[in-house]
């Protein structure tokens, strides 16, 4: 392990925690830490989503950091309640508050005792130290805590379905899932639902997420018929719903990989008694035809991936299992169980410099906008996915899951391979031509 990060790939846990909070109606995330921690996240997510990002901070000053009482935490919560009137506040710890060893759980308990007038507001604390884990860990930690604290048991609500999503899903992905599930006659509660808050569908100035599942919906999640977990990361929160309420869980580590999509549709068809709609059968045929048309260009091709763990697994399964394309290097920002399911020539926990140093055969890199540095130096193509995407408009609206999403990825990838091979067939020209 090197003692420096060059071209970081890792995004912080509080950022992931905030991301999850932004997909819940009336939720405000508060970073318990100095302002700098927060403003960076706000700037980062603003550039990614091109939306207002309502993250708040307890703004620990140097003095507050040394004194270390509940003052900043309590004042911060009170200010947010008075100015924003949220339904739920999610306190996220930062490096500073974690290292200082703040008793945030205790501070929160004391707040609730001191200010009973705010008892109608859900305030939860999630430990998200930024020196550990990555975006996905913070995101999942928030979902875990919400599911531990909010859903309630009760009579089953017919046709109600929980959908837990991993952080890599775009608004396009979430809308696609909603459409499919709704078609089969189910009513999905999607946690979190960034498509309702971060995709441009809110067209007025607001300081609080106005879409996504409300606290009332989350409470009802304990009464759903079943839970669908999308992406590896969603597995644990979904499991918690099972542990608490016995709700059956169906896990999909990928929804871009064909057999997983087939199984997803078959499952919904079985549970609802409805046939798979013609629309999806048609899309599947189109995808297979595209695979047939393009597979001639896959000979000897390698790609590499540098993304958050669940996202990596989702794409990996499609590229490796369905397309049969070789995977040269996979870089994960932090340790993850997903590495068990991935076979690549090089598996690295690290940064984009590590990626750069372990690529020699790849034609394409799947990574976020920061992958630019690597592709520029190594002369490869970048397919931009994940977070952040700073330099593409409408990226969050694109679909990367379901047959439709697989078509989008494959058409981009195959076009690159085609041009790459065409260019390569002229390379020999430089070596052999015109011997005079």
């Amino acid at each position: 392990m090197k003692n420096a990060t060059v071209y970081p790939l890792k995004l912080s846990q509080p950022l992931g925690g905030a991301l999850a909070s932004l997909g819940i109606k009336g939720a405000i995330p508060i970073y318990h830490g100095p302002q700098g921690c927060t403003s960076f996240s706000v700037a980062f997510l603003t550039r990614h989503f091109r939306e207002l990002i309502p993250i708040q901070t307890t703004a620990l000053s140097e003095i507050a950091t040394i004194i270390g009482d509940d003052f900043n935490l309590h004042e911060g919560i009170k200010n947010v309640i008075n100015s924003r009137n949220p339904d739920i506040i999610i306190i996220l710890s930062t490096g500073v508050s974690e290292v200082r060893g703040d008793d945030i759980e205790g501070g929160l308990k004391r707040f609730k005792e001191q200010y009973p007038e705010y008892s109608h507001i859900h305030i939860i604390f999630v430990s998200t130290p930024d020196f550990k884990g990555s975006l996905e860990d913070g995101f999942i930690a928030v979902l875990n805590k919400i599911i531990e604290e909010i859903p309630e048991a009760g009579e089953k609500i017919k046709n109600q379905v929980n959908v837990i999503v991993s952080p890599f899903l775009t608004a396009g992905d979430i809308d696609e899932i909603r459409e499919i599930i709704t078609y089969f006659g189910f009513y999905p509660i999607i946690l979190p639902d960034l498509s309702e808050t971060m995709s441009g569908s809110i067209d007025r100035f607001t300081l609080i997420p106005e879409g996504g599942p409300a606290i009332e919906d989350i409470r009802k999640m304990g009464r759903s018929e079943f839970t669908i977990a999308i992406g590896y990361g969603a597995k644990k929160p979904a499991q918690k719903l099972y542990d608490r309420f016995g709700i059956p869980v169906y896990e999909f580590y990928s929804l871009t990989e064909i057999e997983s999509i087939d199984n997803f549709l078959k499952l919904l068809s079985q549970l609802s008694g409805k046939d798979v709609p013609r629309k999806y059968i048609k899309q599947r045929k189109q995808l297979i035809d595209l695979m047939l048309d393009s597979h001639f260009y896959f000979t000897d091709k390698f790609i590499s991936i540098a993304l958050e763990p669940s996202h990596t697994l989702n794409i990996y399964k499609f590229i490796k299992e369905n397309l049969g394309i070789n995977i040269e290097t996979v870089v994960l920002p932090s340790k993850s169980e997903v590495s068990r399911y991935i076979k690549a020539e090089n598996m690295v926990i690290g940064d984009l410099e590590d990626l750069k140093n372990s690529i020699s055969k790849s034609v394409v890199l799947f990574s976020n906008s920061h992958g630019y540095h690597v592709v520029k130096e190594k002369d490869l193509y970048l397919i931009k996915v994940g977070i952040p995407i700073f330099d593409e408009f409408g990226h969050f609206l694109k679909t990367y899951i379901s047959y439709k999403g697989a078509i989008n990825i494959l058409s981009e990838l195959a076009t690159i391979f085609f041009h790459y091979d065409e260019d390569k067939s002229y390379e020999k020209f430089l070596i052999h031509s015109h011997q005079f």
């Binding site: 057999e259 046939d275 297979i288 695979m291 001639f296 091979d421 067939s425 031509s433």
Partner: protein, 322 residues
Amino acid sequence: MIGDDLDSACKKASEEIGIPVIPVHSPGFVGSKNLGNKLAGKSLLDHVIGTGEPPYITPYDINLIGEYNIAGELWQVMPAFKDLGIRILSSISGDSTYREITYAHRSKLNVVVCSKALVSLAEEMKQKYGIPFIEGSFYGIRETSKTLISIAKAFGDKGLLEKTLKYTREREKETRERLKQYIPLLKGKKVFLYTGGVKSWSMVYMLEELGMEVIGTSIRKSTKKDIEKLKHEFEKKQKILLEKGGAKDILRIMKEEKGDILLAGGRNMYTAIKGKYPFLDVNQERVYPYAGYSGIVEMAKHLVNTLYSPVWKYVKDPFMGS
């Protein structure tokens, strides 16, 4: 059809712009692509060849005729000539320049690579300039070696012949080594070859070298010589020689003969895809070169890629009867 005097129009244009303008009498309503090739060859002979002189000559200057540098195939065989000290004076007409063709008449030997299209050019050059010609192919190990050796023999130079024999032996060994990992995957796979001309027989050899079983080939655009070679190769075996056929005939043969893969031109790619058969494009639109020693390795890789692509697992509709 309206009787334009193309020749004098070209002559006039040539005087005006100071660049040679060559007429090719190639009426679209007469003959096939092959006739067009032949006519263009005639034009080269009448208007271009013999109008220039090379910067220098060597004792081992040859022309390649009918080599179109498809997907860089000329560049793929070029190293062999370089290694043997044989210079390609003019290549007609893959990766060639006008100037290079003007002095093609200074070559010592013409090597005709695609027999049907331009063998007439070689015949006429023999008459006009006394340049002998041989026919050959660079598809497959055996044919590549054979062609190189016949070139060496044609020069009647003992040293060159010995050098070529040694070279081809070494390259053959090296190529077989490189093919080792692919051959077990290709062995016994049934292939139907739907192409024309020289490839109809030379690629049959090539595929057999890869351990594949050729269930048949087409003989469109093949010369009598091509067909004879094929009949000789297919002797005693019941093989299909498809004279003319469309997509439906191809699919019927694939089904009846339990073919594993179709090799044809780009137009029939979709015949194969709709029939859910692995496929390899062997005609001119492709981007992968299959000539020479490295070409057979390249072809083996692409054959394995399409035959073993996971996509075949998914072609069946999983929702049937759901």
